[in-house]
Amino acid sequence: MSERTVIPFGPQHPVLPEPIHLDLVLEDETVVEAIPQIGYIHRGLEKLVEKKDFQQYTYVAERICGICSFMHGMGYCMSIESIMDVKIPDRADYLRTIWAELSRMHSHLLWLGLLADAFGFESLFMHSWRLRERVLDIFEETTGGRVIFSVCDIGGVRKDISSETLKKINESMDIIEKELTELTAVFFKDSSVKYRTKGVGVLSKQLAHDLGAVGPMAKASGLPFDMRTQGYAAYKYLKFEPIIDTDGDSYARTTVRIKEIFQSIDLIRQAISLIPEGEIKTKVVGNPNGEYFTRVEQPRGEVIYYAKANGTKFLDRVRVRTPTFANVPALLETLKGCSLADVPILILTIDPCISCTER
């Protein structure tokens, strides 16, 4: 057996937008074990629910993550609405769905850029992020914000989107789809992309199941888990199937995310064609009393929002199980047996969000 070496990886590393540390145990250039260390940015946002009332906490929930901020707000609001038995207007459900799918598009495009950057394909990185700007422009036009929107509220949404703007969004989808087809052809066909991702970090279907993987990490290994199929928001009215792959490698995880962007475009078009006229918010009276688990499909996978209320305006507890938290064990498994040079790519392929993880 070769002599074992421990190499510290992170918390500062060129491919890591956020801090995580791994002790990589190597034999020659091969990783045999990885031991994680987090805790560099723990913010205690769940604890803040004891100081902010249940209405104010919507703004805190949105700040758990800068990428899927809308879906954090939505997950929290859905929990409180379920406890209070509030039925939000159909139009609000559709608007939430449109913003949620736009969030998925911008998250996956951001990730594609980071992946390209990680293996030194700078022009591909820039094109991915240039396309993402188009999505952020839609956010800005419809919500006023590009990162934190503050449009989701308990009982519905705070802003409507006019039919004229919805038509413009539809036209933008055509442009984005065309540019995305050109962009992703590189990811699908380029030999250097395949060289760095094909067969790298294979996670079998059984292991993905046994390690509790979620989102594209699980779907790329053949597990069709997608909480949208359970019909929250307007998804119950839309036609779609979870996108899966069976290879379980980094290339499959890339493919699943790319196909999910195209799927989001389709879902947005469907939502725009079906959105009814009407109110966007139900008036919420009183304080919540009870508990509820909400499960929402974020870009990185399933998030679980648990809220426990006591009849006052302050909740007893909000607990958020984020997708990255669920995917860390699967990451550690895929690192075993990989080359040291592949570690950055593998960490990226779970699309880690440490801010979410540490909340």
Partner: protein, 115 residues
């Protein structure tokens, strides 16, 4: 979504976890809520069938780790141990309250004063 929460005794946790594991349920979360003691909720899923096991323990009660059954439970258990002070024994990878390395001891165990 159906909310299936089953209250169990501390000593029943492992047998329930073994049954669920054999039936193919995945562990999807372990949550804790500070009360007079600690309320622990173990959430499992099998093809969207969502089951929760609930334990209500006092601060001194020791709970067996389910990480020998669900290896990835170690992250949830370390988090609860460090933030709430729950006494969880036999965690397969125990960070000894150094997962987040927060200078305040068990910061989630006590309620804050309202604003």
């Amino acid at each position: 979504m159906e909310q299936n929460i089953k209250v169990i005794q501390t000593g029943e946790l492992l047998s329930h976890a073994v049954s669920l594991n054999h039936e193919g349920y995945r562990l999807v979360a372990i949550s804790a809520t500070a009360k007079e003691g600690i309320e622990l909720t173990y959430s499992f899923d099998k093809e969207y069938d969502f089951i929760n096991l609930r334990l209500e323990i006092d601060a001194d009660t020791e709970v067996d780790s389910i990480s020998p059954l669900y290896s990835y439970a170690f992250l949830y258990e370390n988090e609860i141990k460090e933030l709430f002070g729950a006494k969880i024994r036999n965690i397969t990878l125990d960070f000894n309250n150094q997962l987040y390395r927060i200078p305040i001891e068990t910061p989630f165990a006590k309620k804050e004063e309202k604003a």
